[in-house]
Amino acid sequence: MAPVGSASWSFTEEDFNSITSLLQKFLYESNARCSLLVDRTGQLVATVGEQPTFDPTAFATLTAADFSANDQLARLIGESDFNSLFHQGEKESMYLADISRRVILCVLFDNRTTLGLVRLKMKGVVDDLSKVFDLVFSRGAAGATSQPGLLAGADDEIDKLFQ
């Protein structure tokens, strides 16, 4: 099994467009409000749908921690992982699903839809997104090295920043 969230990866504008259109279709079909993609290390990758009113950086960090903690809980009871999590609130709820063990899809929804519909539609979009991300990760190392050092030769600027 692939290690969780290790090694560099990058995706292109084309990847981003296909990810966005898959998520838009999913939001339309499930009537959910918003979906966020979070990297396993806690970095926010993308947001589609209604713009969140909360701090998305903090949200992404806590999502990754939530998922990691539940991964460990799964192992304690003899499962390899929990590939989805559901948190129910009075009005707002969220559903989280693992994608290719590198990314977490987090969907926020309210009482305009039902858990059943979200879960049903989520299955499809997770499969589709997994295909996209598998492709991204198989390019992985090559993609990362094709743009060597964004900050190459920027030593002076870095020094200046810390004066």
Binding site: P3, G5, S6, A7, T41, Q43, T57, A58, D159, L161
Partner: protein, 225 residues
């Protein structure tokens, strides 16, 4: 693993404050939170127990400035120091770009410091990271206490240096923060060693907090260059 977002022109890096329980990791973050301008930092998230002991982690995002048109955003994390929280501690190290080890200078905490350092090495190794090859800074905290160990003793115990095998790196490199000291040097026995950059600090008053943060952030950015 840093994240570079070309669309929003941001570089996001992850820095983890590691060290024994009650050593001052959270205090470091609280000081940074209190001192930087509100528009350059996010919320300080603390997952702590009722007695303010860190249970899972503290988290604070800060912007340190712009390089090549990219905003440099650092995500600062602390880990719970107590020995029995290792499972959550290890999770926080995932994808780390730089480490600050906050050591407690008090003589009676020497063993706890060493245990935490060993634990850091072990947890990093399990992820396949080599601590000696990544941005790593040591902070000796609580220097104001009467029972603080002498710096020399702390350095000998916590930062004795690791062997430099690469001949290209085997040249004397002075420590920019401590005149007359070297980060890389040759021991009388002929062996080349490298030590981590270190700082003295009193986190409750803020002494040394920003020096530490600046040093580790700079090392992280240089590692991307």
């Amino acid at each position: 693993m840093s994240m570079i977002n070309y669309a929003s022109r941001e570089i996001n890096c992850k820095i983890v404050y590691y060290g024994p329980g009650l050593g001052g990791k959270t205090t470091n973050l609280e000081h940074v939170y209190g001192k930087v301008k509100p528009d350059t930092r996010g919320k300080l998230i603390s997952l702590a127990t009722e007695t303010e002991r860190t249970l899972f982690f503290d988290f604070l995002p800060v912007d340190l400035g712009t390089i090549r048109g990219f905003k440099t955003r650092f995500h600062l994390y602390t880990v719970p120091g107590q020995v029995y929280y290792n499972a959550s501690r290890k999770l926080i190290l995932k994808g780390v770009d730089g480490i600050v080890f906050v050591a407690d200078s008090q003589l009676e905490r020497m063993e706890a410091n060493q245990e935490a350092m060993q634990n850091l090495y072990d947890n990093m190794a399990e992820y396949g990271y080599d601590l000696t090859k990544m941005p790593f800074v040591i902070q000796y905290n609580k220097r104001d206490l009467p029972n603080a160990a002498p710096l020399k003793e702390l350095q000998a115990a916590m930062n004795p240096g690791w062997e430099v095998a690469d001949p290209a790196k085997q040249r004397v490199t002075p420590d920019p923060f401590h005149a007359g000291e070297n980060l890389i040097e040759q021991l009388p026995g002929g062996e080349w060693i490298e030590r981590a950059t270190y700082f003295e600090a009193v986190a409750v008053t803020g002494d040394g907090v920003f020096e530490t943060l600046r040093a580790v952030s700079k090392l992280v950015l240089k590692s991307l260059a």
